[in-house]
């Protein structure tokens, strides 16, 4: 059952690679197996949290299913753009047939992607998105959309006219592309509703950093009704809320999904979070890579359908599609 993730509800963007293209509902069907064991290289910003672990699980599982070789490298953090470039170059040097990139920077990789693509090596853009036009395919849902979905969830609960609510907003580390995207998305969604958002509190996605931010914001604005932000923020906030006996008065939202958030929702501490099925994004990316290499036709720009997980539907969602399985520890290479 573990492998039967497809068919999976997805959304295709046309024209491909456009930021404001039209979105069409599709169902994604991957190949049964690869023709030959291609060497695929995957570059991640880092492998320090459950989110990228999920993507890792996705690419690894799919590689095993399709029967291709996989090598995963990670740059060590969102400040390591230069390292990521070097690692991608090293991937190519070590003979990769295709490269899957979870980009640290939206523009910063265009150059190296151009170089790699120039050598006839397809580059697949996963999760974070890049502005380069020379990539072969995108498997992602924009964090803009994630932020937007989160905001929409609130806006629908508190439409214009209903009594106003204040939201503490913690988008994540300043300067990271995905953070800015989610930030704009979220703010756009609550625009015009009864929701007022406080000054965004940027901060490292380390738990103690987020913890401090949450505490201070609660201190400064006791009137807060919601805490929305990164998954780490949500995980950290649970304790504070419980400590201060605010459970029920202050609700928590995350704009992406992690195991911590998932259990938080199950235990009723966290109201909800949109699931971008990062596992599936990873799987699709690998499948796309193989299709490109084998000249089969494929969706150029596609991503799993986003849906918000909350108390009501948490029991019916297939966990292995939106999160890494319990006890999965990162795999850096798959050899056939």
């Amino acid at each position: 059952a573990q492998d039967a993730w497809f068919p999976y509800p997805a959304e295709e963007v046309t024209p491909a690679f456009s930021t404001d293209g039209s979105v069409a509902e599709v169902t994604y069907e991957p190949l049964a197996a690869a023709e030959k064991p291609w060497n695929i290289c995957v570059s991640f910003p880092h492998m320090k949290d459950a989110y990228w672990l999920g993507v890792d699980y996705g690419v690894v599982a799919e590689a095993e299913r399709l029967g291709v070789n996989l090598n995963v490298v990670e740059a060590g953090g969102y400040t390591e753009l230069n390292t990521q470039i070097s690692q991608i170059e090293d991937c190519v040097a070590s003979g990769a047939d295709a490269v899957i990139v979870g980009a640290i920077s939206y523009d910063g990789l265009n150059n190296v992607i151009g170089e790699v693509a120039g050598q006839g090596i397809p580059v697949i853009d996963v999760i974070n998105g890049v502005s380069s036009s020379e990539i072969a395919a995108k498997s992602l849902v924009s964090f803009h959309t994630m932020g937007f979905e989160t905001g929409k969830y609130l806006a629908e609960k508190h439409p214009a006219g209903s009594d106003p609510v204040t939201v503490g907003w913690f988008p994540g580390p300043a300067g990271a592309g995905w953070v800015e995207a989610a930030n704009t998305g979220f703010l756009a969604a609550v625009e015009g509703s009864a929701v007022t958002v406080l000054e965004p509190r940027y901060g490292d996605t380390g738990k103690e950093a987020q913890l401090k931010l949450v505490e201070d914001v609660l201190q400064a604005n006791p009137e807060i009704k919601y805490i929305a932000g990164t998954a780490v923020t949500a995980e950290a906030a649970q304790g504070v809320i419980r400590e201060r006996g605010l459970k029920g008065e202050v609700d928590i939202l995350a704009f992406y999904m992690t195991p911590g958030v998932y259990t938080g929702i199950q235990r009723g501490f966290i109201t909800g979070a949109p699931a971008d099925s990062m596992v599936i994004q990873g799987r699709i990316a690998v499948d796309q890579a193989v299709r490109v290499l084998e000249g089969k036709e494929y969706f150029k720009h596609v991503g799993p359908k986003i849906f918000v997980v909350d108390q009501d539907n948490v029991k019916d969602v297939a966990r292995e599609n939106i999160l890494p399985p319990e006890g999965f520890s990162p795999v850096f290479s798959v050899k056939k």
Binding site: L198, Y202, D216, A220, P222
Partner: protein
Amino acid sequence: MTSAAATSSFPGLIRKIFVRVGVLPFFLLGALVVFTLLSPKFLTGQNLVNVMRQSVYLVLVSLGQMLVLISGGFDLSVGTAIALTSVVSATAMVFLAGIFPDAIWLVILLGAFAGFAAAACVGLLNGIGVAYFDVSPFIMTLGVSSLAGGAALFLTGGVPVSGLPFAFADIFGFGRLWGVPVPVIVAVICIAAMWIFMSRTALGTQVYAVGGNIKAAHLSAINTKRTLMMAYVICALIASLTGLLLTARVESGEANLGGTIALESIAACVIAGVSLRGGIGRVENVVLGGFFIVLVQNGMNLAQISSYMQMVLLGALLILAVIFDQLRYRMIMSGS
């Protein structure tokens, strides 16, 4: 060297106090006033308790850092010691909780020991390298921190270790004794112990001596190697204790706790007048130093100062603090 001009402007009394107790008290006072004006929420009992609790972690680590700095060294691996403690103790507790589900206290105790043991190894490594192989403390602790950090990530694959005994988090994370948060109590005890150690025991004096001039200390029949060892091990153990408190605080074992605390703790020490050349430093000032940094961060958060601006201000403050400290030093030298 000294500039009588620069000093004569102060009215005598202020100046006396300034020369005696240093610049930090003034800065603290200033910070209190400014932030009280900027945010009504700042000077509330609740928030001050809040700041106290937040500052515990930096203050504790700074105490250990101070010890190493005074011994003429440097410890960049405190952050890693925290992370390692967190994952090791958490893993141990979760594992043990499975075996003795009803001996919670035993579980917590053993888990804590596991964490201390792991951190002690880090300290021992540092100590051996610095004391017996004369490796530059900078490179030694940097290397060890990269080494141990890798190990910590191995253990967890970046996924937080959740499912700790509730009692642990409830008591050491959020618990209170006579209305005082438990972490604060722990910190106070450590501070007192450290103060006695540094100023009332021969071992403490030896640390100062080794840092002041290691050759002379050797000629004065001091076991310099053992003293250095001790400094690094104690530092690691204090960091480990901090790691436990943080783990309880965030209710999970995290491999990326304490990311920036190494630099922060050194900063706290230096603005508190600890010399990076070794031999000079006082416990009470270091406590103030750590507290000051956290207080300012908290105040700026409450005053809704944008995160970017906060970086700028914090940087400027650090520099100012040290510049004033220099002026003070010159006053003392010029014998006023």
